[in-house]
């Protein structure tokens, strides 16, 4: 809240002032009728008329103030919530991001925030107004005639009991309604993403009957809830009208007795309306708030999430050299989940090029991500440059251990801007040089505006292979001591792959390179090769020796070279079709 707090507090003040004016006006009207009209005093009529106009003006002013202040503070709250969430997301570790999922985070920052904003604005404007209106109207009633007002009190009690029963029952149903929405969503989602299967098996009618079932169950519950809520109006009207009739009856008696004037009676009528309408509004606020409470809780989850990784108190900022050591490292993504890595003991020398190969789920990527501390090892120690990675400041570590991720993500902006993510003050020459090493320079130059070409969100105007090459160049600009390529050339053809390896070897000698790959050709020429299976290292040696000692390695090698190789690896990921 901070800078919007004062506005939030002032809103109810203006609302109160507005309500007081609104409530007083009928009171003055009564005087005008009784002292002016009935008594035949034109001077009195003007006097009270003047007062009333003044009050209406004030009420307008306060109303406008309340409206603007409510808008100011609720939009301020929304902006702050978004900022707070975004700030905390920046602190998230990789495992935190896994936990929330991208789609989940986006919904929280958009839909949920606007739900809360609307609810807050309503809360500011009406939750004070309604009880205030009610109480002040009630006070006025008692001032006018205490005996008659007892009727109101009784009516209020009846209405309140009814409303609270209604709300309690509705709240339960609302939750079910949400579940049925989810069910409808699920059918549509599945259908849309599996439409090829649906059509191929001619299952349109089967899907339609699934959908109809979900839609019908949503329909019947919705009708039930709405019918229930529809009781609100008639019941309130019934009570209000009963009050009016009762007040007319007793009022007539009192007028005859001389304890009530006709003007006062008319004022009472309008107070009845005010009281009952406020009660109604109050009940609706409660319903609405319970609905947006879910959004609030989802936002709070993001803001209060404590990142599970932080810089040490006295961080080291310089990575001495590119040596990497895994000492008895085990790692699992979830707490207590299955281990993705088990008992890893690896020692990579500075300047070495190491290949990592193994099947899906063998733990290759997990191994790579521990080096730049994208995750923390569950057991054991990962050292870079002879020091535990947890001793470095994360910024320094990630600057000097460059990790090119499996999914090549680029951002909207020019090619040059994207490259400079690696180093902000890199000159154009340095960027070109990095591109040359990553075999990206050629195709960038062929693009209409070369290095100034604008990339779409996610780099969709590039092919998969082109994106991967730019990602490598971007990482090289960091001038890292360690470079981890996580399946980073899967979409480039074999020849280009070789050129990239060559470029790296010549362009940045002395850099420790870890190449994780599916394709044996990508790692064949490495100094040493790590073979992984089921989260364990089952071989770590040169190609020639692994062929002799490691049966799994030999199997992979033979499959990919001995006539069972992949065909379209060369162009994999270059496009959708």
């Amino acid at each position: 809240m901070r800078q919007y707090k004062w506005a939030a507090w002032l809103t109810p003040v203006w609302t109160t002032a507005e309500v007081v004016m609104g409530v007083l006006i009928p009171y003055v009207t009564a005087s005008l009728i009784d002292k002016g009209s009935s008594a035949g005093e034109m001077a009195e009529v003007y006097r009270y008329g003047g007062i009333m106009i003044g009050m209406a003006l004030l009420s307008l002013l306060f109303g406008m103030l309340a409206g603007s202040f409510a808008a100011y503070s609720s939009t301020g709250l929304a902006a702050n919530l978004r900022a707070a969430m975004y700030r905390n997301i920046q602190r998230f570790s990789f495992s935190d991001i896994d936990k929330f999922s991208t789609a989940g985070l986006v919904t929280r920052m958009t839909t949920d925030v606007s739900n809360v904003q609307n609810a807050f604005q309503m809360l500011l404007r009406t939750s004070f107004r309604a009880p205030l209106n009610m109480i002040s109207a009630l006070v006025m009633c008692f001032l006018i005639n205490a005996r008659l007002s007892i009727i109101f009190l009784l009516a209020m009690l009846v209405l309140m009991t009814f409303l609270s029963i209604l709300i309690a029952r509705a709240a339960k149903l609302f939750r079910q309604v949400f579940e049925r929405y989810d069910a409808v969503n699920a059918v549509v989602q599945e259908n849309v993403s599996a439409i090829r299967v649906v059509k191929a098996f001619v299952r349109e009618n089967h899907e339609i009957s699934k959908f109809d079932k979900a839609a019908l169950s949503l329909f019947s519950l919705n009708v039930r809830v709405e019918r229930m809520m529809a009781l609100n109006h008639p019941v309130m009207n019934l009570i209000v009208n009963a009050c009016i009739i009762a007040v007319s009856w007793w009022g007539a008696h009192f007028i005859v007795e001389g304890t009530l004037t006709t003007g006062q009676l008319t004022s009472l009528f309008s107070y009845i309306m005010t009281i009952m309408a406020s009660l109604m509004m109050l009940s609706m606020i409660i319903v609405q708030l319970t609905q947006s409470a879910a959004s609030g809780a989802r936002i709070a989850e993001v803001i209060t999430e404590e990142p599970d990784m932080d810089d040490p108190a006295d961080p080291v900022t310089e990575v001495r050299d590119g040596s990497i050591d895994f000492e008895n490292v085990s790692f699992s993504y979830g707490r207590g989940g299955d281990y993705a890595l088990m008992d890893i003991d690896l020692h990579i020398k500075a300047g070495e090029t190491v290949g990592v190969i193994g099947g899906t789920g063998s733990g290759k990527s997990s191994l790579g991500s521990l080096i730049s501390r994208l995750y923390d090892a569950s057991e054991g120690v990962v050292r870079v440059g002879g020091r535990d990675v947890r001793e470095y400041s994360m910024k320094a570590l990630r600057q000097q251990v460059a990790n090119v991720l499996q999914k090549s993500t680029l951002f909207s902006g020019s090619v040059l801007e994207n490259l400079r993510w690696g180093r902000e003050d890199a000159t154009e020459e340095e960027c070109v040089e990095a591109c040359r090493m990553a075999a990206a320079d050629e195709f960038v130059r062929e693009m209409p505006e070369g290095y100034q070409t604008h990339l779409e969100q996610g780099g969709t105007n590039l092919s998969g292979g082109q994106r991967q090459r730019l990602c490598i160049a971007r990482a090289l600009l960091k001038r890292p001591k360690v470079l981890v390529l996580d399946d980073a050339t899967s979409a480039v053809d074999t020849a280009t792959d070789a050129r990239i390896r060559e470029g790296l070897r010549k362009g940045s000698p002395g850099i420790t390179t870890v190449i994780i790959a599916q394709r044996i050709l990508s790692i064949l020429h490495a100094d040493r090769i790590v073979v992984m299976e089921g989260g364990r290292v089952i071989g770590f040696d040169t190609h020639a020796r692994l062929l002799e000692t490691c049966p799994v390695y030999r199997e992979i090698y033979e499959m990919q070279s001995g006539g069972e190789g992949d065909f379209d690896e060369a162009a994999k990921g270059e496009g959708r079709l």
């Binding site: 005008l32 009728i33 002016g36 009529v45 003007y46 009333m52 106009i53 209406a56 307008l60 109303g63 309340a66 975004y86 920046q90 998230f92 990789f94 958009t110 606007s114 604005q121 509705a170 609302f174 409808v184 969503n185 549509v188 989602q189 599945e190 993403s193 599996a194 191929a200 098996f201 001619v202 089967h206 339609i208 109809d212 839609a215 009708v223 019918r227 529809a230 009781l231 109006h233 009208n241 007319s248 009856w249 006709t262 009676l265 319903v287 609905q291 193994g358 994208l374 600057q399 690696g422 053809d493 990919q560 070279s561 006539g563 069972e564 065909f567 379209d568 060369a570 162009a571 270059e574």
Partner: protein
């Protein structure tokens, strides 16, 4: 999810400054009204009647207050009998009004929800008939939001806005008439004030419109930024770009805040402004009314149409009436705004409903004779046995006009043959298979099955004759058994299990916690990719189709699973005409024909040995994955 918006209580959209003109121009809203009127003629008629009754009774009750005060209370002498009768009458009128209001509400809930159900059903039915191209070019999130968010906006329009609009008009008219009857000068004041209210609302609306557009733009910008940056969050971390991301976000966020503030401020102000103009009107009427009553003026223009001079009771009733008169004025503007805002939703809804369905004019149908024996039934009643002879002649195709994907494709698969497609991604392998089952319409040439042009075969029949296993496996939430049965809905449990066994999926299924009854979460998330692929092969096996299309899995599966899948695919191919999109040499080697594709053309064709001898593209592809 923003579905299930507030029940009863209206969460008002910011005032977009929409006017009657915008409403008239929104064609889809009128289509919606027509739809409702067509399906709920009686309901709507009855609801309108109820609105009429409740408006009239509420008017009658305010008028009655006048009689009550003037005739019974003011001159009260102690004769309570007459008063009691009068109050009973009032009670009866009020009760009738309440009953009518409740009835109208119940009817409109039925109409609203019923319309939503009907539209949802129509949407889904229509969507099942859309060509695949539609799904390629529309985001799944957008499609889904039509079913929930866009359909849901109708709830407000049908249940509240439209009845309220009608009610407001009726109320204004009825109130106007009774005001004229009561007092001409006071009516004049009330009309002037109502006009003022209308003017103020529309001019505020105009200001609001500008901010509202701005708000939408900034909202789009922030959403886009979040979408992009949160998806790329891992890269931000790896490059320590957190600070920069925060700064950029801060700027956009502040811009959004400012425009939302401005838009909301105006719509928040509209209510008190209108309310207070109402108050002014009230005061003014009280003043003038008192003045006239005191002066005892009785000229015709000072009286009502009934010719009676202004009495105290008349003033009091008039004051109540005046509220009934001014409230609907601002309500009309609000309801029009709500409807116009919802029209964005109805636009999207009808856009989906209006999408052109797949062309399906074929009359030839498929019949099953016995196990593994099928026949085509021609429109003239004659039959052709299904052999599985598939041929393409001079086929050209493009997804987007002008960007040709396939050119001059000619090939014939004789019954039982295995045809392999080889080539880089983007060469057009999947596209060819998509044309065989007519997922897309070809531009030129013919595709035929057993000599019948596929365009003459009913689509359902054509697709039933073709089994397909896609590389990107799609499963449905439900049990393993249900997923296999998706291939043939009337298959018995035994048949499903037998099919799974025949494609070597049985052993892993038995290892699942509940075996065949294990419930798969959406899209089989709790299975590995290899297991999902095995299930989808079993699904095709239970369908037992004469012709098969297989899109082999790529290398993202470990070698052992890969072998299992390979074995499974080999077993299902036996004795069927098979088109295989091959990623592995072993599949290709024993194919009857290998088609090498490049940029949408078949550049080489023949058997493995022949193609190797050519030393062309195929040879290069093979040697490319070989290690020297």
């Amino acid at each position: 999810m923003s579905a299930a918006p507030g029940f009863g209580m209206r969460q008002r959209a910011p005032h977009s400054g929409a006017t009657l003109k915008d409403l008239r121009q929104s064609k889809t809203v009128w289509r919606l009204f027509k739809y409702i009127f067509k399906h709920y003629k009686v309901h709507v008629g009855f609801a309108l009647l109820c609105i009429l009754v409740s408006s009239v009774t509420s008017l009658a009750s305010s008028l009655f207050t006048r009689t009550l005060i003037d005739d019974y209370i003011a001159p009260m002498t102690g004769d309570y009998g007459a008063l009691a009768v009068a109050l009973w009458k009032l009670g009866a009128i009020l009760l009738a009004g309440i009953a009518a209001g409740y009835a109208q509400n119940l009817i409109m809930i039925g109409v609203g929800q019923g319309t939503m159900l009907g539209l949802r059903k129509n949407l889904f039915r229509g969507m099942q008939r859309l060509p695949l191209g539609y799904f390629d070019s529309h985001s799944h999130g957008d499609i889904m939001s039509v079913y929930t968010n866009d359909v849901d906006t109708l709830r407000q329009v049908i249940g509240n806005s439209v009845p309220n609009l009608f009610k407001s008009v009726v109320t204004i008219l009825a109130t106007f008439i009774s005001m004229v009857v009561m007092s001409l000068p006071l009516t004049l004041v009330a009309v002037v004030m109502a006009f003022l209210m209308y003017k103020v609302t529309t001019s505020l609306g105009k200001v609001s419109k500008k901010y509202f557009t701005e708000r939408q733009q900034n909202l789009g910008a922030v959403n886009g930024f979040i979408e992009e940056m949160v998806s790329g969050q891992r890269v931000i971390k790896v490059f320590c770009h957190e600070e920069q991301a925060m700064t950029a976000f801060g700027t956009l966020n502040e811009k959004l805040r400012r425009s939302v503030f401005n838009a909301n401020k105006i719509s928040n102000i509209i209510m008190p402004v209108n309310g207070n103009i109402g108050e002014f009107c009230y005061v003014l009427l009280a003043l003038i009314g008192a003045g006239i009553a005191l002066s005892g003026a009785s000229a015709w223009y000072m009286c009502g149409l009934d010719g009676a001079a202004l009495t105290l009771g008349t003033i009091v009733s008039f004051l109540t009436l005046q509220r009934n008169f001014t409230r609907p004025v601002s309500q009309i503007s609000n309801e029009i705004n709500s409807i116009v805002m919802a029209s964005a939703g109805t636009d999207r809804l009808y856009a989906l409903l209006d999408e052109k369905p797949e062309v399906d004019e074929g009359l030839v149908t498929l019949e099953k004779v016995s196990a593994r024996k099928w026949q085509w039934r021609l429109p003239d009643g004659s039959v052709i046995p299904l052999e599985g002879l598939v041929s393409l002649e001079d086929v050209d195709f493009s997804y987007v006009p002008g960007k040709q994907v396939l050119t001059d494709i000619t090939l014939t698969a004789y019954p039982g043959q295995k045809i392999a497609f080889v080539g880089g991604t983007g060469a057009g392998k999947t596209t060819i298979t998509n044309l065989i089952n007519r997922f897309y319409e070809i531009e030129d040439g013919t595709v035929s099955c057993d000599g019948i042009d596929v365009r003459e075969i009913a689509k359902d029949s054509l697709r039933s004759s073709l089994g397909i296993v896609l590389q990107e496996t799609r499963l449905f939430s439900g049990t393993v058994l249900e997923n296999i049965r998706y291939g043939r809905l009337d298959a018995t449990d035994e048949e499903c299990i037998e099919a799974a066994r025949s494609v070597y999926a049985d052993s892993f299924i038995r290892r699942l916690p509940q075996g065949y009854d294990t419930v798969l979460s959406a899209d089989g998330g709790n299975l590995s990719q290899g297991e999902r692929q095995l299930l989808s092969i079993a699904r095709a096996a239970v369908a037992d189709p004469p012709v098969l299309i297989l899109d082999e899995a790529t290398s993202s599966i470990d070698t052992r699973t890969e072998r299992l899948i390979q074995r499974s695919m080999d077993s299902i191919m036996k004795g069927r005409t098979t088109f295989v999109i091959a990623h592995r040499l072993s599949t290709v080697r024993n194919a009857d024909y290998i088609m090498v594709l490049d940029h949408g053309r078949i550049i080489e064709r023949g058997k493995h040995a022949e193609l190797l001898a050519l030393k062309g593209q195929y040879w290069r592809l093979c040697s490319g994955s070989e290690i020297q």
